[in-house]
């Protein structure tokens, strides 16, 4: 390898940092052109671990069973803000079967640092103590024996109240440019819209969970996480160990959706209790704990004012967001859609991160941008109404090819094609006919919304490929496949480049042991980060294989090609199974390693799309049904259309639920969530699903390294709620001041 360090920009959910990355100059494979004839890439392939997942044999963290393993249970704060008066640790330790207890006074072994637990809880559900015992029943008995007594302190759960009292998790952010106030005053047409968006819970069906087992000063941790390497590094820092002393295993993860970052409280507490007892410890959240302390998309109060000329060209954007942060966390880019979706020189953007007595908000699929789009794209429709202009036409007139913040061009953008295709698939030209009175008494409408998200990925990301004498390859990656199908994507890309059948390529992920780094499964970055590394590694193996084939067949390697497991010469004289070459390897292997190259200079990488929803509203019952949803997203090249459509359907459904049913309701008097259970927090079931129609421009981004794909996890959730709310407004002529569109809210709005 010819190594050098380069400085590049790395993006994660809209945050940029400049990092040094190691680049191998031999990683210079060119992107397959859009019309390349590919055997496997772009063709539907069932996921490689589908059978294991469908048979009940997939071992999730909650399924790990080790000899002598203890089970931990957590005592959590029952109040939004309080002060622990007494906690009877001795009584808990005296409970039969209890082996160890940690409480607010405890410090971590080895480093004696990082208190995990607090004596003054700041939100309902905050951990106060953890008990490890022989059985879960004994652990729960130990928790009861703690006989918690606490003083209740005043709380704030209303974000507006927090702002009035100047309670912030950080400084309010002003991301304005130009002079929006003056531009608004000078605009020919103006509108103003205020909408509240709900706190939405990720609800992975496998809750946060960890199992920790020590062997001397080496720790093995099974963690239900989206980021096994960050989990490893956090555990190393907490216990003062080298990274190599820790192995994190995460073969199967029962959903994350952003909530499962790093080691989490669960892995740290399990590791500490395992250290104290000398036995493996498992800690699994129960559902109520998961819903109070697993994380959430923060509720927001947003106001958007728009100004435009009579011609529909935007002249001013003013947007404000109050974000109910809870105790902290990143302030996600709620106003990014307002700042970047359309051309506008004068933009006001103020974000207030309100500190409330709730758990710190965390990532949930397209954090910030989704809830920002849900309001901003409704405001765009209000402007279309004020201008008496077709909403899609208004969006087309304000289309941009350069990023409005940096002034740099996009690396690729097929948004106009997405508009056209979505309009065609949705029957947009019959939009007004839908509103005619219907025999079933329902009010129908069509609404659209535009999507912007990042999803370009970047370095660092690595892969190795090893080909054996049977002509079979194993690809080692740093992927944790949380259900996205990215391991299968790596199989497809490696098999394509190697010229092998899919079934001859195995992919390893979910284990930090091999120390082949991959990024956290978040920010829609796995496919664009990992696939180029996989292809580079496979390309090196292919090159060596063809050189060896040249030796075997006594022909120049450049006259040979390989596909579907056969090596052929261009003149047709040679047509041999790959094992005729690899069979001579004996116990040797052909190895290659690859790295993700840097992102292109001078471009901004984003994904784009358009969704159009058709809704039917029952004006008597207040019920809103989404009948059909068209989703067209530009995410570069599609590696596997089968799993890609699964990502779109999943994102759309979570967006639909945000629009219609999901909301964590908090009792203002106690500050405690009142619907922290799956039977009163309504996630969609099979009966709630609309017809979902999917298409893509499917053109590779030639400015991205060697595969030309962008990420797809987040884009589909971004525009769904706005499209549904716009369809509701189209159907009814009313626009509710808050989401979700529950029956009560709909009836109030229509009254």
């Amino acid at each position: 390898m010819t190594a050098r360090f380069v400085r590049t920009r790395k993006e994660m959910e809209g945050r940029y940092e400049d990092v040094w990355v190691l680049v191998d100059e031999e990683d210079d494979v060119e992107t397959w052109p859009h019309d390349a004839e590919l055997d496997l890439v772009g063709k539907p392939a069932p996921r490689l671990d589908g059978t294991v997942r469908a048979s009940g044999r997939a071992q999730f963290t909650v399924d790990v069973r080790l000899p002598g393993m203890l089970t931990a249970a957590v005592l959590r704060s029952p109040v939004a803000h309080g002060n622990v008066r007494s906690l009877d640790i001795d009584a808990a330790l005296a409970t039969p079967g209890v082996r160890a207890v940690i409480g607010p006074e405890s410090v971590l072994s080895l480093t004696r640092s990082t208190p995990l637990l607090v004596a003054e809880p700041q939100y309902a559900g905050q951990p106060l103590a953890v008990v490890a015992a022989d059985t879960s029943e004994a652990a729960l008995a130990g928790v009861r024996a703690l006989a918690l007594e606490l003083d209740v302190l005043p709380h704030v759960v209303d974000a507006r109240e927090a702002v009035n009292e100047h309670r912030f998790t950080g400084d309010p952010a002003d991301d304005s440019r130009g002079d929006a106030e003056a531009a608004l005053a000078a605009s020919e047409v103006t509108i103003e819209l205020s909408v509240d968006t709900p706190a939405q819970l990720q609800v992975p069906l496998e809750p946060h969970a960890a199992v920790a087992s020590w062997d001397g000063d080496s720790l093995t941790a099974w963690v239900s996480t989206q980021g096994m390497f960050s989990a490893r590094d956090e555990l190393a820092a907490a216990f003062g160990l080298r990274k190599d002393d820790i192995r994190v295993l995460t073969a199967f993860v029962g959903g994350g959706f952003g909530a499962k970052q790093g080691a989490g409280f669960e892995a740290l507490a399990a590791a500490e209790l395992a250290r104290m007892t000398g036995r493996p410890v498992r800690l699994v959240n129960d559902r109520h704990a998961e819903m109070l302390d697993g994380g959430r998309r923060a509720a927001t109060h947003q106001t958007v004012r728009l100004g435009a000329g009579r011609d529909g060209i935007l002249t001013a954007i003013e947007a404000e967001a109050v974000v109910a942060m809870g105790q902290g966390g990143w302030v996600f880019p709620v106003l990014n859609p307002a700042r970047t979706l359309y051309r506008c020189a004068d933009v006001g953007a103020l974000t207030f991160p309100a500190k409330t007595n709730l758990r710190a908000q965390n990532a949930f699929r397209a954090p910030g941008v989704m809830e920002g789009t849900a309001v901003f794209e409704q405001a765009i429709d209000e402007l279309a109404l004020a201008l008496d202009l077709d909403p899609l036409e208004l969006r087309r007139r304000n289309h941009v090819d350069v990023d409005q913040v940096s002034g740099l061009p996009y690396s690729s953008k097929q948004l106009l094609a997405c508009y056209d295709r979505a309009a065609e698939l949705a029957g947009w030209d019959r939009r007004e006919e839908l509103r005619a009175p219907q025999a079933d008494g329902l009010l129908r409408g069509l609404g659209c919304a535009t999507q912007i998200w990042w999803g370009g990925g970047g370095p660092p990301s690595h892969a190795t490929v090893r080909l054996d004498s049977d002509g079979h390859a194993v690809v080692v990656t740093g992927i944790q496949d949380i259900g996205t199908g990215t391991l299968t994507g790596a199989q497809i890309v490696a098999a394509e480049e190697l010229g092998l059948p899919l079934r001859h390529v195995r992919v390893v992920g979910g284990d930090t042991g091999p120390n082949v780094y991959g990024p956290v499964a978040g920010g829609s970055q796995t496919t664009p980060s990992v696939m180029p590394a996989v292809r580079s590694a496979a390309a090196k193996v292919r090159k060596t294989l063809l050189q060896l084939a040249g030796d075997v067949f006594e022909i120049a390697a450049s006259d040979l090609e390989i596909s579907n497991g056969r090596i052929r010469s261009h003149d047709g004289a040679i047509d041999a199974d790959v094992t005729e070459v690899t069979g001579k390897l004996g116990s040797a292997t052909i190895d290659g390693s690859g790295s993700r190259g840097p992102n292109p200079d001078g471009f901004v990488v984003n994904t784009f799309g358009c969704q159009i929803a058709q809704v039917a509203v029952d004006p008597g019952l207040g019920e809103v049904r989404v009948e059909r949803l068209v989703a067209v997203h530009d995410v570069g090249r599609i590696v596997n259309p089968l799993t890609a459509s699964s990502q779109i359907e999943g994102g759309v459904l979570q967006g639909l639920a945000f629009a219609l049913t999901e909301e964590l309701v908090i009792d203002p008097t106690t500050g405690v969530p009142v619907n922290g259970h799956l039977d009163d927090y309504k996630v969609p079931s099979i009966a709630d699903v609309p017809e979902i129609v999917i298409d893509y421009p499917n053109l590779p981004d030639v400015n991205l390294p060697n595969v030309g794909s962008k990420g797809l996890g987040e884009p589909p959730i971004v525009p769904t709620a706005a499209a549904i709310a716009n369809a509701f407004a189209h159907a009814t002529g009313r626009r509710p001041a808050a989401l979700p569109l529950t029956r009560a809210r709909v009836l109030e709005t229509l009254a």
């Binding site: 996921r47 059978t51 879960s136 069906l205 699964s646 799956l678 079931s685």
Partner: protein, 149 residues
């Protein structure tokens, strides 16, 4: 001690007032059925009790004695195999955590109604939550398995 008949085998278990799911997972190490909500609201713990899907997280283990219990591990042949194949072929599996419960419910549906309509599928499967949102493909997989059966 009570006797439980699980996947055609007899087990003597001490229920200690626990739910069937706890006995299956903790005592018998049958780990296919999952504890996801513990509230009977998601179906990840579905097993068959005399051929009908039940939420094992709610049913007391003692109450299951005297009945025929089948878990995902016992559903390997015949119709269940075609359901599993259809789930994989249609990509009705994302993270896979709810999948054992989905397969149990889908197999029970097809035993009862070999050629279900969309409405019958929605009715039978509405108690099985999939947070990844594979529902469109679950419906397609069940229709596919019905065609193959």
């Amino acid at each position: 001690m009570v006797e439980l008949r699980v996947n055609c085998q007899l087990y003597e278990v001490e229920p200690f007032g626990r739910r069937l799911l706890a006995v299956l997972r903790d005592d018998l190490e049958l780990l296919g059925a999952k504890l996801a909500c513990g509230e009977g609201a998601c179906g990840a713990c579905a097993v068959l009790l005399d051929g009908r899907p039940v939420n094992a997280c709610l049913l007391l283990a003692e109450a299951a004695s005297g009945h025929e219990i089948v878990t995902i591990e016992g559903l390997s042949a015949g119709r269940a195999a075609s359901v599993q194949e259809a789930f994989v072929a249609e990509d009705a599996v994302q993270c896979g955590f709810c999948t054992p419960g989905q397969i149990v419910s889908a197999t029970a549906l097809l035993e009862r109604v070999p050629h279900p309509t969309r409405e019958e599928i929605h009715e039978a499967m509405a108690g099985n939550i999939c947070r990844c949102g594979t529902y469109t493909k679950i419906e397609r997989a069940i229709l596919r398995a019905a065609g193959a059966a």
